[in-house]
């Protein structure tokens, strides 16, 4: 059994930033466990630019962004193991992992940070019937084939889902010589960032068909065609609009699911809305000494936010090990009100000296313009009010909650969004 102060599960952007911040805050024995061949996570296959504008105040590609953190990890002499898969954790923070050199590794950690990221929803999650030929990929898998492996997974492609990866892949495939027939989106709006829609579709004349979906995949060995249909306001197919479109490849960008299989081993309480653990403002889960950050906690649209969230968890893990926590008398629950889908953190538990504010992250349910966001406590008093020109489910919203607004009798705060 090897002992560590902190084991970080996952060496993607969240894990790296968390480990660094824990080191800065005084932890010495830190180990990062990464299942892939290299650190950096999914960033390594995101060779497009647009990363780092918030965090580094400059525009980087995914591998560049990852590289900055990998270098810092090496400079700070933080230990890591790649091609190492964590297969089990226990509530006593014992970790079992596997790799080629060490065999089965058993570790005891004073704290754990969960940073396993997320996986893509598949064809099966959205139940597209038809045959089961080759040529149906999730957008991320196709991205890996092109950018990491160097192979073309398709020539004539239809993309379902206008999430960011779908939009990025429409451009990527076009640049590699494939024909992207269209990007289809079930909802009446794109779920990706506006800049991606402009730069990846509009600039390449790739049509975005809103309110459209695929109802059938045809083909024996390889995809031969798909049946595309328009949907009504209840997202139900309008039969008369069915159209069969020939293609050899279907790419799916239909959402991401936080990968909490390990968290379930220790019965970490999960939020059915985010798919991630329920956490306090330190990013500690319902399991003592186990923290979560990055896409395992909530699916982010910007890696910059992942880094920031991970730093909170990294510092918190260090403070936890060094026993620097002081609890509030009361736990303040944060509740999603009108047109708010979820809020992270879920509750506020600790008191910290010199803390001026707590940052709250949230997503709205549907797009809206000219809105006002109200924070109201359980006594009905309005604590804060913010105004925004535009909100969409595709862009995470962040607000600050000043410490001076909180008091010892407060039990909850509801956040709601209204049209001005």
């Amino acid at each position: 059994m090897i002992n560590y102060d902190l084991v970080v599960i996952g060496g993607g952007p969240a894990g790296l930033a968390a480990a660094l911040e824990a080191k800065k805050n005084g932890l010495e024995e830190i180990l990062i466990l990464e299942r892939d061949k290299y650190l950096g996570g999914i960033l390594q296959q995101c060779i497009h630019n647009g990363f780092g504008l918030d965090y580094f105040k400059e525009e980087l590609t995914g591998p560049e962004y990852a590289d900055r953190f990998v270098r810092m990890v090496e400079e700070n002499e933080i230990e890591y193991k790649t091609e190492t898969m964590v297969v089990n954790i226990t509530k006593y923070r014992k970790i079992t992992a596997l790799n080629q050199n060490d065999g089965v590794i058993n570790i005891k950690a004073k704290s754990i940070i969960l940073a396993m990221g997320c996986r893509e929803r598949t064809r099966e999650s959205i139940l597209i019937p038809g045959s089961r030929p080759a040529g149906v990929f999730t957008a991320g898998t196709a991205q890996r084939y092109i950018n990491i492996e160097g192979y073309m997974p398709g020539k004539k492609v239809i993309i379902l889902g206008s999430g960011d990866i779908g939009l990025i892949m429409a451009r990527r495939l076009t640049l590699e010589g494939a024909e992207v027939i269209a990007v289809l989106e079930l909802l009446p709006y794109s779920s990706g960032l506006v800049r991606n829609k402009v730069q990846c579709l509009d600039d390449f004349d790739i049509p975005l068909k809103l309110n459209h979906t695929i109802t059938r995949i045809n083909g024996k060995g390889r995809v031969e065609s798909v049946v595309v249909v328009e949907v009504d306001e209840n997202l139900q197919p309008i039969k008369e609009t069915e159209e069969e479109i020939a293609c050899d490849t279907v790419l799916l960008s239909v959402g991401l699911i936080p990968e909490n299989e390990l968290s379930k081993n220790i019965n970490v309480e999960l939020d059915p809305v985010t798919g991630g653990p329920i956490i306090d403002e330190k990013r500690m889960t319902s399991a003592e000494g186990v923290f979560a950050c990055g896409n395992v906690l909530q699916v982010h649209d910007l890696v910059d936010y992942v880094s920031m969230e991970a730093e909170i968890a990294g510092k918190a893990a260090a403070d936890y090990v060094n026993q620097k926590y002081s609890s509030r008398d009361n736990i303040i629950e944060l509740m999603a009100g009108k047109n708010i889908r979820y809020i992270v953190p879920h509750h506020i538990k600790y008191y910290e000296e010199n803390q001026k504010f707590i940052k709250l992250y949230m997503r709205v349910k549907k797009p809206e313009e000219d809105v006002r966001i109200e924070l109201v406590d359980d006594q009905g008093s309005m604590l804060m009010e913010y105004k925004k020109d535009i909100v969409t489910p595709g862009e995470m919203l962040s607000l600050v909650l000043p410490e001076k607004k909180l008091d010892d009798s407060m039990k909850g705060i509801e956040i709601s969004l209204y049209k001005r």
Binding site: L98, A134, T141, K155, G221
Partner: protein, 504 residues
């Protein structure tokens, strides 16, 4: 090429027969038109080892099922495929159905099935806390079990191969070779193969082969669709749950699988195409709502895959097994619908008996290498395989020490290592496609459905088979996954066009 016994069809029936004949000093060939074993009915079905109470003793189905059921413990242990006798419950909601349950119980008891019991509502709710509380009673059959039908079939084929059977994949028979009212072999896409005895175990195509010998067997393909759930749901029910059966099928069931998932299905629809493995919204809706009647807590969000299977239903509604009465040397094994998987080991023994009888009756016509002399070196057991998920960690640590490939987990959802994937590619019946690896190792069967491990499996297949990655397929020729290397593709497909543009 020449053999004593030639079996057409690499499904559970064909492979069970092949293994049975491999116990004797005979040259045996098994033909399979697809590029892997278990590509038809044996690939996609409920995977139930039935207790056998629901078919009458006067039918082959009934007799063979009851004969075969007790064979599974030893056989699955020898073949190293998971098998669990979890028991089944036929659940009734109406008082009127009680008569049906009683008939099944009495019928089963006549056939010697042990442990049958009619349980009341309270006991049923104890056995199955998540079952619909409106149930009234159920027939409990403790001898029913679950098995993975494709793994079972592949293992039977592996066992046949290590005992000397020549399994020829990608070999499609096109005609019977008949002379003087005697079947003397088959024509295939790879040329003629002579054989003294030909066994037609061609599943959905058995009627077509029988008709080549003048035998009229009427087979209707019936399609059934399924949903498979995430392992979160694996212990949601404890037994195989059946509704009260209808005339055409045992109904839409809810069952755990040997790998800890939950399976619901199948509906039963007569279809025109024998290879129409498509799923439909309509079919899956029927499956879901019927399953929900048994287990109302089911939701659709954790479904990780949907698929369909086709069973070959004979017009007699029973198995059709016997020597051809038109031509010597042919044995037809047709119409093997449910409980075909369960019955397969008994069918194999029955076919052997028929062959022995045939060879003594026609000893002049049928020249066999030996008169069914038993081999003294028949290997019951397949060589031990390393399976991470079945092994203690301390032991696995040593396994990694001997071969580091077992230390690299490739499929993160199902915890399958590189070593296991390499083993699958080199099994007696080798895995040569991504799906073939999946059926042998479970890599890609989990909740991400191969999103993460797909590219890795393609890479390993390419290395082990020494073929370019562009030749690696999902399920055989025509289902290749990658078209070209990225830059090659740009230069070839687009480069030529842009060159033309520049010249203009």
């Amino acid at each position: 090429m020449k053999s004593d016994v030639l079996i057409i069809g690499g499904g559970v029936v064909g492979t069970a027969i092949a293994r049975e004949f491999s116990k004797y000093e005979l040259d045996v060939i098994l033909l399979e038109k697809e590029e892997d074993i278990a590509m038809g009915t044996s690939k996609a079905n409920s995977g139930i080892v039935h207790a056998g109470y629901n078919a009458s003793m006067n039918t082959l189905k009934g007799r063979l099922n009851t004969w075969a059921n007790p064979m599974f413990d030893q056989l699955c242990s020898d073949l190293q495929v998971p098998f669990e006798r979890i028991g089944s419950l036929v659940v009734s909601f109406e008082e009127d159905d009680f008569k049906k349950l009683r008939w099944e119980k009495e019928n089963g008891e006549k056939m010697g099935i042990k442990g049958l019991e009619i349980v009341d509502r309270d006991r049923l709710l104890e056995l199955e806390p998540n079952i619909n509380p409106e149930v009234s009673s159920a027939l409990y059959a403790p001898t029913a079990g679950i098995v993975s039908s494709y793994e079972f079939t592949i293992a039977l084929a592996d066992s046949a191969v290590i005992n000397g059977v020549n399994v020829m994949l990608g070999t499609e028979m096109t005609d019977l070779f008949i002379e003087n009212n005697q079947v003397k072999g088959v024509e295939t896409n790879r040329g003629r193969i002579y054989s003294s005895i030909v066994i037609n175990a061609a599943g959905l195509f058995a009627d077509e082969i029988a008709s080549m010998a003048g035998n009229d067997i009427d087979i209707t393909p019936r399609k059934g669709e399924y949903h498979l759930y995430d392992k979160n749901w694996g212990d949601y029910v404890n037994h195989v749950l059946f509704p009260i059966p209808s005339k055409i099928s045992k109904g839409i069931l809810v069952t755990p699988t040997v790998h800890g998932n939950l399976l619901i299905g199948p509906n039963s629809e007569a279809v025109a195409g024998k290879e129409d493995y498509t799923t439909t919204n309509e079919g899956l809706d029927i499956v879901f709502s019927a399953a929900r009647k048994l287990v109302p807590g089911l939701e659709r969000r954790d479904i990780i895959t949907s698929f369909s299977g086709i069973r070959a239903v004979a017009s007699t509604d029973d198995f059709v097994i016997g020597p051809s009465d038109k031509n010597v040397g042919l044995i037809n094994v047709a119409g093997i619908q449910s409980p075909g998987l369960t019955s397969a080991p008994a069918i194999a023994e029955m076919v052997l008996e028929i062959a022995v009888e045939m060879s003594s009756e026609y000893s002049r016509e049928l020249t066999l290498k030996s008169n069914f002399i038993e081999k003294d070196d028949f290997r019951e057991r397949l060589p031990e395989r390393c399976v991470y998920t079945d092994t203690e960690h301390s032991q696995w640590h040593d396994i990694i020490g001997e071969n580091s490939d077992y230390g690299e987990i490739v499929c993160r959802c199902e915890h399958v290592t590189r070593g296991e994937i390499i083993d699958a590619i080199h099994r007696p019946v080798p895995a040569t496609s991504v799906d073939a690896v999946k059926r042998r190792t479970r890599a890609g069967t989990g909740r991400c459905q191969g999103g993460f491990c797909g590219p890795r499996v393609v890479e390993i297949l390419s290395e082990e088979l020494k073929i370019p990655r562009t030749e690696v397929s999902k399920k055989g020729t025509g289902s290749e996954i990658l078209f070209a290397k990225t830059k090659d593709y740009l230069l070839k497909e687009v480069g030529e066009e842009s060159e033309k543009d520049y010249k203009l």
